[in-house]
Amino acid sequence: MANVPPIPKRISSIKFGLLSPKEIRKMSSTPIITADTYDDDGFPIDMGLMDTKLGVIDPGLRCKTCSGRAGECPGHFGHIELVAPVVHVGFNKVIRKLLRATCRKCSKILLEPAQKQHFLDQLIGIEEIGHMPDDLINEAYKEASKVKVCPYCNEEQLDIKFEKPTEYLENGEKLTPTEIRDRFENIPDEDIRVIGMDPKNARPEWMILTVLPVPPVTVRPSITLESGQRSEDDLTHKLVDIIRINQRFQENREAGAPQLIIEDLWELLQYHVTTFFDNSVSGIPPARHRSGRPLKTLSQRLKGKEGRFRGSLSGKRVNFSARTVISPDPNLSINEVGVPMPIARTLTMPAVVTPRNIEQLKIYVRNGEDVHPGANYVLRPDGRRIKVTNVNKDDLAEKLEFGWTVERQLKDGDIVLFNRQPSLHKMSIMAHSVKVLPNKTFRLNPAVCPPYNADFDGDEMNMHALQTEESRAEAKILMQVQENILSPRFGGPIIGGIHDHISGLFLLTRYEDHISANDAYDMLRKSDIRELPSPAGYDPDGKPYWTGKQIFSQILPKNLNAQFTAQVCSHCDTCKKEECPNDAYVVIRDGELIKGTIDEAAIGAFKGKVQDRIIKEIGPEAGARFIDNMTMLAVRAIMRTGLSFGIADEDIPKEARIQINEVLGKAEGAVQNLIKSYQNKELEPLPGRTLDETIEMSIMQKLGKARDETGNIADSHMGLENSAVIMARSGARGSILNLTQMAACVGQQAVRGERIRRGYAGRTLPHFEKGDLGSDAHGFVKASYKSGLNPTEYFFHAIGGREGLVDTAVRTSQSGYLQRRLVNALQDLEVQYDLTVRDTRGVLVQFKFGEDGINPTKSDFSKPDTIHRIVRSVVNREVA
């Protein structure tokens, strides 16, 4: 570590250039002259497209160039001598530029010597500071193409027109590739530099091909069909076409064919060479297979999603994986994943045969591939892989010996990785244990949706079967769901109750209703609790009853202590703590819920204090068990009372409606007054604002207040008997604002935080007068969703709604890219055992992780609460 290099490995330079004909011939192992591939014996023809000098793909043959066998030989280029030069499609842009910027007679660049020198000097300067010279080169080109008469030979320059795909017209007459090549050959080196090319590595005439490199056979392997017939690669087909036309061209020319035929053949050769490079050039029909399928030529191999870069290098496919739709199953543990039977029968795990497991493995092999837990393959120590079939399964089971490996099917309890894209944090891939289930979807406990950010509207997820003992052990210790309940992002649980879990426990623990033994046992049925505590009291008929708090206490660990405010807390000025009239102060003593309501703050994902305490004080296993029991209890609790929502729940009494209308009317009046004072120039501008800004802000504020007021009115008429209020207050789903909009008033629609102003000149819609500043004319929706919006309101609402959609679409892509850049910049940093943060060279980045060396996962919601807690538990009282 003594001499640290500045970067692990530095690439000193990358050179890009064109292949010169000389270089193409030099790297070629053989010229290719025959269009045929194999002779009658199926042996590659010499100087044909499958010549063994180009490398070998058939086993048994040896390469004539490097004498390597198939697999060892990397392949070697050959070449085709083109009878006449053709244009390379990829360089059309540069060719056109050069034709326009150089003289048609003397080939010099069309710039005065002084001007040329000026550009050259600047170019050197730019190169020195390491900037891109693109702008300067474009300028030079622009200047040169403007010149109409050559400053060197006084030749008048003609207009060059480019016609798709590969034709150049000079004053309407076609320039042949030979002519273009001749012009390029005569451009002096210095002039080439001005146009941004390096004459050593890229002479312009090399963009007109006279010799075509033939890619090695390893690049275009032929495949043998079952019928024994050979099927060639698309590239080979294209090369065959090129050679055929090339030959015909030569024969015709030697025979002195008329110019018309020669030109046709030349064009045909150009077409084939063009499509060999790129079969999607606009202006020409793509070359097709006999079946009508367009050929996949060179650029098609690289381009696009399935191309070499995005498809093969950045993204690859893996074995031992499965993907299907996910659906919920609250009866599974959070550590489990329900795997459909067909997937379990296809994916395998290797098991080495030992004295301990031979009998079990024999059973698997005997079960074969059709009976579930079976085996699909048997591996012998010599490396042979035998498929287990119905024919050989009994035979194989008998032959099984120690040291063999059986690839047995996935069964209950196997550790697999489960993943949902986009994998944004470590909790996007977690280890689950398999539970084989019928049907065709992956099943997971809805409580693990938050870390994956999954829902069940058609989401698909991937599963990976681990293939070694080490990986399974590592996954189980580090990646299992229970080990990831606490998030390193904020030091709290990311897994917890959602939606119905929260409503369910809220309903169970809030009310002091009497729960009979029957109901109590029913609710706890799915947990491992089999005994009830002594009843809370007896009904008049002598039957014992229990409270919801008691039932919930049964699933709490026996030694749990916690105190916190619930989500329903109304944040009074002075907190009465235990005596909270709202029952919003939760007290858990020795695993018993004494006071308070269980809601989002207690068991919710991201917020749940109860899971948090259990995991940090007892352990992840107890935490997982609690979440399992909690979700199952909650589902049963919500089924006991039921929770539904209908239009009737948005009803508000008549007097409330009147009050709301009054508030809205008053607000509108206030807005009119503001407008009047604005028109009379009486309005005082706010500091730092123009008058126009001031009136807009005041109106927005007035109307916003009015909306809130209507919400309060509606809210005061809807109590906790309303299921929407229950959901909003407990934090299960939705907010009071949502309810307000449904029942009272939707409120101001805004675009970029301002009232809606776009539309016609001076007005939003023809329904209003020009210059109307009133609330209706600028998107204030007085109606509620329930009462229904009038047409103009509906239109403004659509405008506001559209902005929301566009915003989310833009934001996700932007934040995704931001995240990617951050991850790429930070991915190699590592926290060492001495708590320093270092990069791969060993250079320090932080002397102590986060400057305090605290693991955020183990902190209490990133607050220094831990210390208070320890002091509290030691001295057994509250310490400031």
Partner: protein, 108 residues
């Protein structure tokens, strides 16, 4: 024509533009000679002694080159007169730890 107040006394005179800052004195305080380090957002920077440096390097068991870097041209390096090869100790306020120490090797 400029008015310059020096020690509470006003001086009146013609000033050559290139000499302007030499006279920039206010209330007896020479405003051209303020220290960068006086600004509240600039943490304390000091050049470490040989012995101090040795103990830091051995604490993290690293060579000098493995420290984070700071350029000599950096205004703070100039201010404290650090030269290439020095190690600067930076004591900053930290949101998490109250106060945190950081070390940077001065490079070209």
């Amino acid at each position: 024509m400029f008015f310059i107040i020096s020690g509470g006394k006003a001086i009146r005179g013609k000033i050559r533009p290139d000499k302007f800052f030499e006279y920039f004195i206010f209330g007896g305080k020479d405003l051209t000679k303020f220290s960068l380090l006086d600004h509240e957002s600039v943490p304390k920077h000091e050049i470490m002694s040989e012995g101090e440096l040795k103990s830091v390097l051995s604490k993290y068991s690293i060579e000098k080159e493995q420290l984070p870097k700071i350029k000599v041209q950096d205004p703070v390096s100039k201010e404290i007169g650090a030269v290439v090869g020095d190690v600067v100790k930076i004591t900053r306020k930290s949101q998490t730890a109250g106060e945190a120490e950081y070390y940077r090797l001065v490079i070209e």
